[in-house]
């Protein structure tokens, strides 16, 4: 990110960076590489404008932002794409919510196992049935032992990372799915 020295004064840096953040939001329909390119070019434009105008840097930057003009409205998916996007987002968010609850319970089991290793575990009965439990089960043996906490802890974290990735591509504003439907 830019520093205040780059823009000539803290106030100039604040104005410039606020403008670039707004521009980034307005360009969110573009793919990441194109968006970065346009932001870099707008920043170069603002610097050239400031260099060509006398006066305090914050005034020059504010004038440069004004001269740049209104920012484009963020691209929206077309009506059909918009309805499809809403449906997919709803399904994805439901899936993330349900799976997230399971991941949280798994993580809780893993942490509980650290404090009560004799009680918490994956219990297998003589009949072959099994259960995850916070309490030792009669007529059953715990099969993971020391490895229960690492396996369930890391598993929960892996699931959380996968869900965050899924949210980013399929449910977040400006994500890959929205961009793809915008181009339809």
């Amino acid at each position: 990110m830019t520093t205040q020295r780059d823009w000539g004064s803290p106030e100039a840096a604040r104005i410039a960076e606020a403008f670039l953040r707004r521009l980034a939001r307005s360009l969110r329909g573009l793919d990441a590489a194109e968006r970065q390119e346009r932001l870099r070019e707008a920043e170069a434009h603002l610097r050239d404008f400031a260099a060509a105008h006398d006066g305090p840097p914050e005034r020059a930057i504010a004038d440069g932002v004004a001269a740049f003009g209104p920012l484009p409205e963020p691209a929206r998916p077309a009506a059909t794409g918009g309805a499809l996007l809403s449906l997919i987002r709803a399904i994805v968010i439901l899936f993330i919510g349900a799976t997230g609850v399971l991941a949280a319970m798994t993580l809780h089991l893993a942490v509980s196992d650290l404090f009560a290793p004799d009680q918490v575990g994956l219990w297998v009965y003589a009949s072959g049935d099994w259960s995850l439990s916070y309490e030792a089960q009669p007529d059953a043996r715990e099969v993971l032992g020391f490895w229960f906490a690492p396996i369930f802890g890391l598993g929960a974290i892996a699931v959380a990372i996968a869900l965050a990735f899924l949210y980013r591509i399929a449910a977040s504003p400006g994500g890959a799915l929205e961009r793809a439907l915008t181009r339809l």
């Binding site: 707008a42 920043e43 170069a44 050239d48 060509a52 003009g69």
Partner: protein, 123 residues
């Protein structure tokens, strides 16, 4: 009922809209024409257009989507060049395809211009 003349404000707005549409229509022609003379970068291009093409009040940011479109159409190329002072600049240069497109645009413009001139002379 007799039709009344539109208020002067409406007429001014209509002319403003017409001016805006005209400039939008010729913007790509002007940008390519400027790039035909020499490669250039965003700020210099818009400063030239403001000065030479009567576009003093144009929003400078409107240039960049046009440049992006010209690039994706293959009419210009772009490359970042380190400046002697300050930040790097993205320079645009016209391609052979861009020159052909420019010639086509100019011919179309001349036809319109001829039609306008002819009509004026008749009057």
């Amino acid at each position: 009922m007799a039709k009344s003349a539109p208020p002067a404000d409406d007429g001014a707005k209509a002319l403003e809209r017409w001016n805006s549409q005209l400039r939008k229509g010729v913007f790509e022609l002007l940008v390519l024409g400027r790039l035909e003379r020499a490669r250039s970068y965003g700020y210099a291009l818009i400063a030239d257009l403001k000065r030479d093409a009567g576009m003093e009040d144009i929003a400078e940011g409107t240039l960049y989507p046009v440049l992006s479109r010209l690039k994706s159409d293959g009419f210009v190329t772009a490359e970042w060049v380190a400046a002697e002072e300050g930040a790097p600049r993205k320079y645009y240069a016209i391609t052979e395809e861009g020159r052909r497109a420019l010639a086509h645009m100019r011919a179309a413009w001349m036809r319109i211009d001829n039609a306008v001139q002819l009509r004026s002379n008749e009057e």
